[in-house]
């Protein structure tokens, strides 16, 4: 059963919190992972792998660099469920 974008956002926020300790409510759609949330490329990859498990979606390495904002990631996950 496909998740809504809000559900994907909530799930992604949990993963960000687990990896970085950032409060889930800091993970908003317009935020850039690196510039606003200070998530480096290694933490980003950990979040991506965990998101693949959580949402059952494959996120190839070449796609990861396109996931600049939270919205990019939420939309990619939601569209590829």
């Amino acid at each position: 059963m496909a998740l809504s974008k809000d559900e994907v956002l909530a799930g992604l926020a949990e993963l960000v919190n687990e990896e970085t300790g950032l409060a889930a409510d800091a993970v908003q759609m317009d935020k850039s992972f690196s510039e606003d949330l200070d998530i480096d490329s290694i933490s980003m990859m950990t979040i991506v792998v965990n998101a693949e498990d959580k949402f059952g979606v494959k996120i190839p390495d070449e796609e990861v660099k396109n996931l600049v904002t939270v919205a990019d990631a939420v939309n990619y996950i939601a569209d590829n469920q």
């Binding site: 490329s41 290694i42 980003m44 990859m45 950990t46 991506v48 390495d61 660099k65």
Partner: protein, 132 residues
């Protein structure tokens, strides 16, 4: 390389440097090597809790930390982090890290260690050994 020196000099083309695909290597070194590590334990007939130490190639502390986390090792297993002192010493990193654990008394001779090396190639290998 198809750009002129003037284009490179003036910044209208990127310098043709060799770059590591860091994120790809990180993903492989952690999640694929975790599978290899588990396979080495199985082949040796050893469980994670039987180990005294995990001695990985000392490439990057973030790889070591995440790989150890993926293996869900009990607290009794010492994870070698010699990289903090030596940096990445390439093919010497595993023996140096093992020597450091023994010399500083963090592990004892006779205990079991899971060694796992990975790097350029991408090549890898793992084995369970008795600490000398």
């Amino acid at each position: 390389m198809t750009n002129s020196l003037l284009e490179l000099r003036d910044g209208s083309a990127a310098w043709p440097t060799l770059r590591q695909e860091g994120q790809t290597v990180f993903r492989w070194a952690v999640w694929e090597m975790a599978k290899v590590a588990k396979q080495a334990l199985e082949v040796a007939g050893v469980k994670a809790e039987d180990l005294s130490a995990l001695v990985t190639h000392q490439a990057n502390i973030r790889i070591i930390d995440e790989l150890a986390k993926q293996l869900a090792l009990p607290d009794s297993v010492v994870v070698a982090k010699d990289i903090v002192k030596t940096g990445n010493t390439s093919a010497a990193s595993i023996p140096l890290a093992m020597h450091d654990l023994l010399a500083t008394g963090k592990v004892k001779s006779g205990g079991l260690a899971l060694e796992i090396g990975f790097g350029a190639g991408l090549a890898f290998g793992a084995q369970v050994v008795v600490l000398p």
